[in-house]
Subunit: 469 residues, 2 copies
């Protein structure tokens, strides 16, 4: 038989992707039209003399970050939170527009902080503005699902040793009835109190004894072990346990507490998500604020709005309505029970993993839905809207190709291909908890919004000359 | 685009396998000639009226076994070994024909048992027949590489709860300079003494507190986490650690010993191999001794001979010269330093994992050599010589197809396709240790030998009528 050395393919994506599996180079000829109304802004941004170097710098900055777990501390200490201030996932939002799960988590957190006895009583305080709510992202933090952080919660502290920059994330509570999915019952608050009283201090002591844990390095290994680090974090969780267990044992803590903590972490396949997320944020924060860069540095949802931030447009959020995921439901729940997309966890996709790396985690289709060929095709499709590949994070089954990294607003607008996110689904009513997991995209309209802002900045720059069209 | 519903393919395996990746059914038309001289025996065995049902029974018996880790005990206790009796990998062999690594491991074990001060002094005792050597397989045990077991070593005890049948394997020492690769220096013996004094008793206590560990279930998970359970056991090792760590902590052992044991297991990605192997043996032993079955129930190598046992031919070994693996070498070692294939670990391939499941562990090509497309193609090829698939052990990237299970001597002879094994490579001189890892096949001639014995039994059966050819 003869092996083709190069194939040009139009349209028949199934076969193309199948051949690509065999590591034969495939050129996809893209026939998709650009998003409606973006032609002028695309031409402007394409002609921006800063763009190419700015994007190279942004991508290199992101890929250059190493995230180390260096400490575990209370949010009051590292984020300066007082009992009446709460962080949440996604772009800014007021109580009036907040979704059920976000409200539920805020109410539970208010009870956790002792501001109210009954979580239900907190609603009025938030509505009246007596309790403050701000995005995690505005405090170098990220939170999965509702993403609510309150003063007494213990936070993972991640640091890039080259720059000393830090990011933060709370500890993962597990699945089902948990605060981040909007549940706030007694079991939820009891678990959170145990996490603050035992788990946090024990992990802090273990990290101190062990020394920094290389979260970026664990992510490298996870991607070779069937995890995509958003909705599969099994291997990552186990590697964290492996690294910290000996130091936990010699920490001087009561062996029963140590055993309980080991069982809690080992029984929660998602525990490592809360390290993957701040590692991704640390990487992406390094790429912020580069004039001319069209790279997305955050995708985040508060359960009502989906927002993105872009390197070349500073701290501005471009938002649109959060979508409902398409996926698999727990027990008797169905699509009517699901809240729209929520959480800062899309920071993983922003950094090239999660939905972008599903090819390396085909077993995830049993959790979020879809098919194995879809999972393989998704990773390949995401390369069409990203600036490059991550040489540290590779996908063995795609012949060790690096994950698609650095979402480019112009490529999204030019192709109409939307970033693919996989996600847990919260119940839409406060107090319910998780109802499923699935696949979801950002609202398409936010990318032309960002493009327009980029184009406006380009045109406003001294010496700008409009391209001849 | 239109999606083909079924494809018939002749020869162009690259494309066929690529399409198969997309979960489109593919029919491979096999043009390979049978192995030379096997036509008559193939016709006889094909006409055996017992064969079909016997193979169904053998496959079902193998697939029906659940392997639980129920205890950890000294070999003296569970295998009745005295200090002067030693088990080894592979088919039976005398000292005179034993390879360097097997000799090295036996010498080290004699020193471990206190029979000699200097391991070198043991050679004469083995040569004189003062010390006995017998195959692990003759004692319901398996051992990786040299596979040497001596009285004071602690053994994993696996049991099928349905039948109470048990199998045994020693504890894994790690890589590099270790007894099973033929090294016997002071560091090797010190580590083995610590394993007998601390690790074995601690694991025994942990298993007692935790209760039986579901090894078959961990194997199910591993195959979704990039392990093929022969040369990648990373996820399996971590899951064992997760399951036993809490019970180790509350065992009452000194926390420093517990921490050392946790670090030892966590630092050895191959630790779980010594559970995967006896789990596979427990499954395959259930398929032994079924008259008319052409299913292979053991493949094992002693470093000189490669032997197989077949369900329908009892305890008989069919042996030929062990081959040298083709693969990757550690440091400055090269092919001249490698001993021929050694170890009972090919029991994993016999049960459908290891080399047979490389499609689920593409990252293994960085350890044993080959390419990712080869790894995918190998699993598909092994389906051509196996009786069925294992519904418990599936390969996500092949759309959750079960691993190819139950090697059929007649299919091997008819297609000439040899079982694919991946393996560590021992240095050929006693005392060296590991020199690399690679891919290897059994010597082709042993399958016609087994076929001939099967045909002979068929012809000898009362009422046999030769087929009309």
């Amino acid at each position: 038989m003869s092996t083709p050395t190069r194939i040009v393919n139009v349209g028949a994506e199934l076969l193309a992707s199948a051949v690509e599996d065999q590591a034969v180079p495939v050129t996809m000829v893209d026939w998709r039209p650009p998003m409606e109304g973006t032609a002028g802004d695309l031409a402007t941004v394409a002609a921006d003399p800063l763009r190419r170097a700015a994007n190279e710098r942004a991508l290199a900055a992101m890929l250059g970050v190493q995230a180390l777990l260096v400490d575990v501390r209370p949010a009051s200490e590292v984020l300066g939170l007082t009992a009446d201030r709460f962080l949440h996932a996604g772009p800014p939002i007021a109580w009036e527009r907040a979704s059920g799960p976000l409200r539920g988590a805020l109410m539970g957190a208010a009870a956790l902080e002792g501001l109210v006895e009954d979580p239900e009583d907190a609603a009025g305080l938030f509505a009246a503005g007596d309790l403050a709510m701000e995005p995690c992202h505005h405090h170098r933090a990220v939170g999965p699902m509702a993403g609510v952080v309150s003063a007494s919660m213990w936070m993972f502290v991640l640091e890039d040793p080259q720059t000393g920059e830090r990011t933060y994330c709370s500890l993962n509570e597990g699945l089902g009835k948990v605060l981040r999915y909007g549940a706030y019952g007694g079991e939820v608050l009891r678990r959170l109190r145990w996490m603050s009283a035992v788990l946090g201090p024990l992990l802090a002591e273990a990290v101190r004894h062990h020394g920094p844990v290389d979260v970026t390095g664990i992510l490298t290994q996870m991607l070779q072990m069937g995890d995509e680090a958003h909705n599969r974090n099994r291997a990552g969780t186990l590697m964290l346990l492996r690294d910290l267990a000996p130091a936990m044992v010699t920490s001087g803590f009561d062996p029963r507490d140590v055993a309980e903590a080991l069982g809690f972490i080992g029984g929660n396949d998602h525990f490592f998500l809360n390290l993957a997320m701040p590692a991704c944020k640390l990487a992406l924060d390094a790429a912020r604020g580069i004039e001319g860069s069209t790279m997305v540095v955050a995708m985040a949802r508060n359960g009502t709005d989906f927002g993105i931030q872009v390197s070349g447009t500073g701290e501005e959020w471009f938002t649109g309505p959060a979508q409902i995921a398409d996926g698999l439901f727990l027990g008797d729940y169905g699509p009517d029970d699901a809240n729209p997309d929520i959480g800062d966890s899309a920071i993983t996709e922003t950094a090239g993993i999660g939905g972008f790396a599903m090819a390396t985690a085909p077993a995830i289709v049993r959790f979020v839905g879809g098919t194995v060929p879809d999972a393989l095709a998704t990773t390949r499709r995401m390369h069409e809207i990203t600036l490059g590949e991550n040489p540290r994070w590779s996908v063995p089954v795609l012949d060790f190709q690096g994950v698609p990294s650095g979402i480019d607003v112009t490529l999204v607008c030019r192709t109409g291909i939307l970033p693919q996110i996989n996600t847990g689904m919260a119940g839409r009513l406060a107090g319910v908890g998780q109802v499923g997991a699935g696949l979801v995209n950002p609202p398409a309209g936010i990318f032309p919004l960002a493009l327009s802002a980029l184009a406006e900045r380009t045109r406003a720059r001294p010496g700008w000359q409009a391209p001849v069209r």
